[in-house]
């Protein structure tokens, strides 16, 4: 009983990290209806810039954090201008898109952001060629032991202690606050209204005098800055960054975002938590390979599941 609780707890804490990582991805998709595949590479290159400052110039953690967030936003601007900044309203049937159907431009953005992914990842590796690079550490020493006598007295099972890392818990709390705050801000503030208006109908937003292109670039950069926040938070727990980080951010974030319904901000939280719990259970039952497999199997099943038949185009 207690080890299952421990598993669920670990899964939930991991899942909060996935939700944090997927937040920016889902926000971009909500606004642009485009998937930014360079998302993970953006976070990774920004983290590498931070690690470079840390290693070469012994920058303090707060400066690294600022650098990571700011460079993620800047790289995001570059990605947006190159891959997503196309005038999309020129015609319904863009001339010579690879796939000229209804989602032609969507696929162009998908493929070109994939190309930029490779570019950014290579730039990061050129910056710091080693496989393991030090990152400022904010990890807490030791962990809390939480006495679980309640279970003992209620269910008759012997009580025990749960292990809980305080830094992980802080990350989870931060994620929940950030997600709920962002969702509320999108719903209540004027800027959030503008973002939703652009997402809802670009032409109508343009007609009422909104600078659609600039808003899109701003929102995109903000979402990428969120990826910088996520990158700093996750990496400072590990105190190191490797070239695998970009792929990790994209895949975990993508699964969390798709599980939660791409574009939904609160959904990412649930998607991330679900992914964390499923991974944790799969690992304990079937081993480390199964944990990895479970991620993709979950993603695949959610995508092709027959019960999504009606909502397929809406997502």
């Amino acid at each position: 009983m207690l080890d299952v609780v421990q598993l669920l707890l670990d899964g939930l804490l991991d899942g909060a990290g996935y939700a944090l990582v997927g937040l920016g991805l889902s926000l971009t998709f909500g606004g642009l209806k485009r998937l930014n595949l360079a998302y993970g590479a953006t976070a990774m290159l920004a983290a590498y810039v931070g690690a470079w400052l840390h290693i070469r110039h012994q920058a303090p953690a707060w400066l690294v954090a600022l650098t990571v967030v700011a460079s993620a936003a800047l790289i995001g601007l570059y990605v947006e201008r190159l891959c997503f900044g196309l005038p999309r309203d020129e015609s319904t049937q863009p001339r010579g898109a690879p796939i000229a159907g209804a989602d032609g431009r969507e696929v162009v953005a998908l493929a070109s952001s994939f190309a930029i992914w490779m570019q950014l990842e290579q730039l990061a590796v050129n910056l710091l060629p080693r496989h393991l690079n030090a990152f400022p550490s904010l990890a807490a020493e030791g962990q809390w032991m939480v006495a679980m006598d309640v279970f003992g007295s209620v269910s008759g099972v012997a009580g025990g202690e749960l292990m809980l890392r305080p830094d992980r818990l802080a990350l989870a709390v931060m994620t929940v606050l950030l997600t709920l705050g962002l969702a509320r801000w999108l719903e209540r503030s004027r800027a959030g209204l503008a973002w939703r208006a652009v997402a809802d109908h670009r032409v109508a937003a343009h007609l009422v005098g909104m600078p659609v292109s600039r808003l899109q670039a701003l929102g995109f950069a903000a979402a990428c800055a969120l990826s910088g926040v996520a990158a700093f938070a996750m990496l400072s727990l590990d105190a190191q960054v490797t070239p695998m980080f970009g792929m990790w951010v994209l895949l975990k974030g993508l699964v969390a975002a798709i599980l939660g319904g791409l574009g939904s901000v609160r959904g990412v939280l649930w998607g991330g938590l679900l992914l964390g719990v499923v991974e944790s259970l799969a690992q304990s039952w079937l081993g480390a390979l199964a944990r990895e497999f479970a991620t993709y199997a979950l993603l695949f099943i959610v995508l092709v599941a027959p019960w999504r038949a009606s909502g397929r185009s809406a997502l």
Binding site: L86, P98, A115, M118, V125
Partner: protein, 312 residues
């Protein structure tokens, strides 16, 4: 034999093998699908044909053929549940499938003891000693000729197929599936057929790759391989089956072989693909250019000016 000659033969073989993978991505692009999972069929084909030739001593041709069948069947099976997905969800689903296949191959242990020790897939350690070429005294040059011959045959078949009604139906499906269905062409059938063909092509490339390098491991078949395949097709052009080949030549032949930009190859290649997609979304050899080239070729030699009719 100089080292540069050996390197050149190896590079040419790699280019031919990558062209097969790029062609499989190209076929799917023709029917309007972006797949980030072609590396899975490449890997499945490599493992299937490697197992057959190394564990069961099948001849190379039979092992390759079995790999093609496995790749085609798996690709067809993947196309069934993903049939109705939109472009974006299809791309993500194929990516997920590719990773599932890679992890499944990482869990595959199937070894047989031989006098040189156990042979066969050993999970994450990979699959060593696919030694059919060494045991049968096939030189690297002869194998290169075989690979090039297979590539030429595939290119010829595809270019011939595109001139038929079937090829026209593929392009129609990619342009507008609703309109195509309205013309009485079964979009689902076209996509299933093309998926099977593409899976078979990728698996053929994988089988050739496994026998060339004698060693494969699951980590080789990561999404980057599939992305490259799509990138080659988009860079080279979707107007003709020669397009993906041109993309491979540009990347492997020019950027990598020339070693002009060590460490910057991906930066340049990635940037090129993104720029191309922005200003030339269907690649270098797009349909318009292919059509113009075709007209130009047909005009050579210039047609005889018609004789003015002489009055009787």
């Amino acid at each position: 034999m100089s080292a540069s000659w050996v390197h050149a033969v190896g590079l040419a073989s790699d280019m031919a093998i990558m062209s097969l993978l790029a062609l499989s991505a190209y076929l799917l692009l023709l029917v309007g699908r972006v797949s980030f999972g072609q590396q899975a069929f490449f890997g499945l084909g490599a493992y299937a044909s490697g197992v057959m030739s190394a564990l069961f001593a099948w001849p190379l041709a039979a092992a390759l053929a079995l790999g093609v069948v496995v790749g085609a069947l798996c690709s067809w099976a993947l196309a069934l549940p993903t049939m109705r997905l939109s472009g974006l969800h299809y791309a993500v689903a194929t990516l997920a499938f590719g990773e599932m296949a890679r992890i499944a191959l990482s869990a595959l242990h199937w070894q047989r003891p031989t006098e040189d020790g156990p042979v066969g897939p050993a999970g994450i350690e990979g699959f060593r000693d696919i030694r059919w070429l060494l045991e049968n005294d096939v030189s690297a040059e002869a194998y290169l000729l075989l690979t090039l011959g297979l590539l030429a045959a595939v290119l010829g078949l595809l270019m011939a197929a595109e001139r038929t009604r079937l090829g026209t139906a593929w392009r129609m499906t990619g342009q507008d599936d609703v309109l195509t269905a309205a013309q009485g062409v079964s979009v689902a059938r076209m996509r299933l057929l093309v998926a099977a063909l593409a899976g078979g092509l990728a698996a053929l490339g994988g089988g050739l790759y496994a026998h060339r390098t004698t060693y494969i491991e699951p980590a080789l078949f990561d999404p980057m391989l599939g992305v490259h395949a799509v990138g080659y097709a988009l860079l080279g052009g979707l107007g003709t089956a020669l397009g993906p080949f041109l993309g491979v030549v540009i990347d492997l032949g020019l950027l990598d072989a020339a070693r002009l930009f060590p460490g910057w190859r991906m930066v340049i290649f990635g940037g090129l693909v993104a720029l191309f997609l922005r200003w030339r979304p269907r690649g270098l050899l797009d349909e318009v250019l292919v059509h113009r080239l075709g007209q130009w070729l047909r005009r050579q030699p210039p047609a005889q000016p018609p004789n003015p009719p002489t009055a009787p």
